[in-house]
């Protein structure tokens, strides 16, 4: 099970979505699909058509910058970050 850490800007949008979620997934894309299954609409908040991660959403797998295609291992830590920006 991959260990997902989600940004605080995301969780208020979906009732019951915790900051930390464990999912069974082979890639980052699969992990987001699993979140979408449980919280419909969530994919659109992280991805844009393409599909690709939104410009200001960064994903790290075991501290390495990742894309949707990045594979996950059994105990991967996945950090989803809302980029530090704005004012």
């Amino acid at each position: 099970m991959a260990d997902l850490h989600l940004p605080g800007t995301l969780t208020p949008l979906f009732p019951g979505l915790p900051r930390r979620v464990e999912v069974e997934a082979a890639t980052v894309d699969d992990a987001i699909s699993e979140l979408e299954r449980q919280w419909p609409g969530l994919r659109d908040r992280l991805c844009e058509p393409g599909p690709a991660l939104r410009m200001h959403i960064h994903v790290y797998v075991d501290r390495e910058r990742a894309t949707l295609a990045t594979p996950l291992e059994g105990r991967s830590r996945v950090d989803v970050i809302a980029a530090i920006s704005g004012g």
């Binding site: 940004p7 949008l13 959403i57 809302a82 980029a83």
Partner: protein, 357 residues
């Protein structure tokens, strides 16, 4: 006793203000929509639902909705996307029109999406494809920063298949068949720049309707009036301090009375001489008078954006405008006197008013 509701969109979420029919004392609630930048927020008078068009830098565009006057909110962007093969992207949702659960959403790149289920799901209604000017607005390289795409949508009171859309920097288009076909409605407008098409190339900031035949608009270069529902336009700028502005409102019971907020036309785009002033015509634009009582008259360098002025429909209508520095002003006597009813909101992008029985 009726309740008066102001729906305010700001750069940091939506806010609601409530008052009674006297409209003297107001209570404020918010921010809503998790502080997302809200470009336009409206109230569906039939269903009572509030909708807010918002675009987060992080999480993309969506339409928020509340069925309980702001107590709870949810959001959806399901279906608000162009086909990937089109090469077009939705960068923001910028304008709304809602009636009886049908929601029209204007977006950038220019297009209109529709919801028939109260904002749960959306589908593409029209991109105005093939209309003159569309070859330029379909090219992202041609869009200036902050482009809104479809900057406004105006419904017909009686005919659901008829509405008007403003394409920012291009002009007004009317459909009478629910978006299947369009007609540019810009004849007689002034434009001080070269235009590749005779029918378009006009920078219409705000379009308002006075009655069955009369419309007014605040344009980038002048105020204009139409007496044939937008088929032809006549400029009515003379007598105003500047030709530039964004916001406008038409009196609901007197077709000859119209309000605008002239701004300096340069980069500043604030009220001339630091004096906050709403200008009123009561003779369809033949003459204008300033309305200043209660508005700051010194060092008030205020801007008002295109959707940030509204008028209610009481017998003696109230006027409202919000500034790009977060002040909200209200008049309960047709603009004769004003009060500042909120002072420290985020930059205000839209103000709409509803009278609730």
């Amino acid at each position: 006793m009726p309740k008066t509701l102001l729906v305010v969109g700001t750069r940091k979420g939506a806010f609601l203000l409530e008052s009674d029919a006297d409209r003297r004392s107001w209570s404020l609630r918010g921010p809503y929509c998790e502080g997302w930048p809200v470009y336009h927020a409206v109230h569906d008078a039939v269903t009572g639902t509030i909708y807010a068009a918002a675009a987060s830098e992080w999480h993309g565009s969506a339409v928020w909705r509340s069925n309980d006057l702001g107590e709870t909110w949810t959001l959806s962007s399901e279906g608000i996307a162009y086909d990937e093969s089109s090469g077009r992207k939705v960068s923001k949702v910028s304008s709304l029109a809602a009636r009886n659960g049908r929601v029209l959403v204007g977006v950038e790149a220019p297009g209109i999406f529709e919801s028939k289920d109260g904002g749960e799901t959306f589908s593409l209604l029209s991109t105005l494809a093939g209309e003159p000017g569309s070859e330029a607005w379909d090219d992202p390289a041609n869009q200036p920063p902050g482009h809104l795409g479809i900057s406004a949508l105006m419904l017909d009171e009686d005919d659901d298949s008829r509405f008007w859309a403003i394409v920012q920097g291009v002009g007004v288009f009317e459909t009478t068949d629910d978006g299947t076909s369009w007609t540019p409605r810009n004849r007689g407008l002034r434009a001080d720049w070269p235009r590749p098409h005779e029918e378009v190339g006009f920078c219409v900031h705000r379009l308002v309707r006075a009655d069955d035949t009369r419309m007014y608009q605040q344009n980038h270069v002048g105020m204009h009036r139409s007496d044939d529902l937008g088929h032809t336009w006549t400029e009515i700028t003379e007598g105003l301090p500047t030709e530039f502005g964004f916001a406008a409102a038409a009196h609901p019971h007197d077709r000859d009375t119209f309000y605008v907020v002239p701004l300096d036309p340069g980069h500043g785009r604030t009220m001339p001489d630091g004096q906050a002033t709403v200008w009123q015509t009561k003779d369809a634009g033949s003459s204008w008078r300033p309305l200043r009582k209660g508005l700051p008259q010194q060092d008030a360098h205020l801007g008002v954006l295109r959707a940030a002025m509204a008028i209610d429909n009481y017998d003696t209508p109230g006027l409202y405008f919000g500034t790009s520095t977060g002040q909200l002003f209200a008049s309960n006597d047709e603009g004769e006197s004003w009060n500042e009813i909120a002072s420290y909101l985020p930059p205000i992008s839209s103000v709409e008013v509803a009278v609730l029985d």
